[in-house]
């Protein structure tokens, strides 16, 4: 009797493992290439005419002005908590005088850009992905193309430009509000002298602290808007598809913000 030849089980398992690993690796590279091409295309349309200024103005207001309350509240309470936490720690070493410096450096260098980036990723990145994703599944993007209007020019470029320009502005305002939060706790809760607190803040602050935060903010604004656009533009069909696109936009932008925060910190301060 003829018996069929079968692959030994451990060998088969190893083949499966290699196959899956290879397929996943190829998928990751394909996706990275797709995102890179999308980014390059978006950048090209940001710098070449025609420019839809009405759209840009609308996005500047949507992304910048309407994010102000969220960013303001986030940085205000972050500055306040930072002052309070620093005080409980620094009193052990009689280093209360360093609190103002810790607050201003932490807020300008790290907390304002990162937290503002994450909050805007939640508010703006999700909204961009949901809006463009809905336009994709209801064929509005196809309709735009048939009307001789390039969706990259009309939808993507204004959002990317607005995100990149407005987040630094939001962070600058967030810096002031965050430091003010620390000042409120320092002066009214911990009973520092207002003049001393402000002097210590001003003395320790250097222009690079603010500039680095603003550069980070511009990078994070770009990341939030480009990932929102990418996931919305490539949204799968149906309500579930748009939901997944929205989630992916927020999650991927948040992770990229944290990764680029490390890279930019390394560049500026190492």
């Amino acid at each position: 009797m003829h018996t069929p030849q079968t692959t030994p089980k451990p060998f088969s398992l190893m083949l499966d493992f290699l196959h899956n690993t290879g397929a996943t690796t190829l998928d990751v590279f394909a996706k990275a290439g797709e995102i890179t091409l999308f980014i390059l295309r978006a950048l090209w349309h940001c710098i070449t005419p025609p420019f839809f200024l009405t759209q840009l103005r609308r996005q500047l207001i949507d992304i910048g002005y309407y994010s102000l309350p969220v960013v303001g509240l986030t940085t205000l309470f972050t500055g306040m908590v930072l002052a309070l936490q620093s005080y409980t720690g620094f009193t052990r070493f009689n280093a209360e005088s360093a609190i103002a410096g810790v607050v201003v450096l932490s807020v300008t260098r790290e907390l304002a850009p990162v937290l503002a980036g994450l909050m805007v990723a939640g508010r703006v990145g999700a909204a961009i992905a949901a809006e463009i994703g809905t336009m994709r599944v209801t064929e509005q993007i196809d309709a735009m193309t048939t009307l001789s209007v390039n969706p990259f020019k009309y939808l993507i470029a204004p959002r990317v430009l607005a995100g990149t320009l407005m987040l630094p502005l939001l962070v600058l305002i967030g810096d002031i509000i965050g430091v003010f939060g620390g000042y409120l706790v320092g002066v009214y809760r911990l009973e520092f002298s207002p003049a001393n607190y402000l002097t210590q803040t001003w003395d320790i602050l250097e222009s690079m602290d603010i500039i680095s935060g603003l550069v980070k903010a511009a990078a994070f604004g770009f990341i939030v808007s480009i990932f929102g656009c990418y996931h919305g533009f490539n949204s799968p069909r149906g309500a579930q598809g748009v939901g997944a696109a929205t989630t992916n936009a927020v999650v991927s932008a948040s992770i990229m913000i944290l990764i680029f925060n490390y890279i930019l910190t390394q560049v500026f301060f190492s």
């Binding site: 509005q140 196809d142 193309t145 048939t146 390039n150």
Partner: protein, 256 residues
């Protein structure tokens, strides 16, 4: 012999393992209205999107006025789009824009026309599809399905296209509104002197708007003839489809 406006020759398109268009050959005569019928999932919408350049093809060629339109640059394709108008199945109106802005969208942003002049044209087209002037300032969400279809038709014809595509123009409409849309399609195409390519399941619509009919099955055109010959085509696919029989060569499995 009639002049051919659009010609598809051996057009192929697959999505992964799914071969949607499997060598489509079709000629659309200039100034005529050709309707493509076929079961769901047979590639009707994909075929139109391939002609419009919204989906790239894997093989074959698509000619407009005898010139290949598949291998054009992005800029050339944008220019080419000004010759096309498209009525999407769901209307695809931009929901953040008012109706007149939707109708004038291609004129303002595609052709750089002055907003005042574009609005004037949009209002003319809105009137031409039987909508009241006050509709111009409403948002798409404030309109019924039939009114949205009319507004979308006004947008499709606003740029005076040479070719108009209709994707299931009467789907989801009551019979009376469907007839109104059919009449509007006929008058719009006639007034523009345009060529029309439609896809639909609605046999009432087919008999009303078509000069010629083509049947697509398994990504291939299996019959093409005059609408007058539809009932005596002798084609088993056409017979089954136009009489809506469950028995015949078109099976549920084949429809994908």
């Amino acid at each position: 012999m009639s002049v051919i406006k659009i010609e598809l020759a051996g057009v192929k398109k697959a999505f992964g393992q799914n071969q949607v268009l499997n060598g489509v050959n079709l000629k659309v005569p200039a100034g005529k209205s050709l309707v493509v019928i076929g079961a769901s999932g047979t590639g009707k919408s994909v075929m139109i999107k391939c002609i419009l350049g919204l989906i790239g093809i894997d093989g074959g060629s698509i000619l407009l006025d005898g010139e290949d339109i598949c291998h054009r640059s992005r800029r050339e394709r944008d220019m080419l789009m000004s010759k096309f108008g498209m009525l999407f199945q769901g209307g695809a109106l931009f929901d953040s824009l008012r109706i007149w802005e939707n109708v004038a969208f291609g004129l303002i942003y595609g052709r750089g026309m002055d907003r005042v002049k574009a609005r004037q044209i949009a209002e003319e087209k809105i009137a031409a599809v039987g909508l009241k002037p006050e509709v111009a300032n409403l948002l798409p969400a404030e309109l019924s399905g039939g009114m949205q279809k009319r507004a979308a038709l006004a947008r499709a014809i606003a740029g005076q296209p040479e070719v108009i595509f209709f994707d299931e123009p009467t789907t989801g409409l009551d019979p009376i509104m469907a007839d109104v849309i059919n009449e509007l399609i006929i008058s719009s195409v006639k007034n523009l002197g345009a060529t029309a390519l439609s896809i639909t399941h609605d046999m009432g619509s087919v008999r009303k708007i078509a000069d010629e009919v083509a049947m697509i099955h398994h990504g291939q055109i299996v019959w093409h003839g005059s609408v007058k010959d539809l009932d005596s085509s002798g084609n088993e696919y056409v017979e089954q489809f136009i009489h809506g029989r469950s028995e015949g060569p078109i099976t549920l499995g084949a429809r994908g």
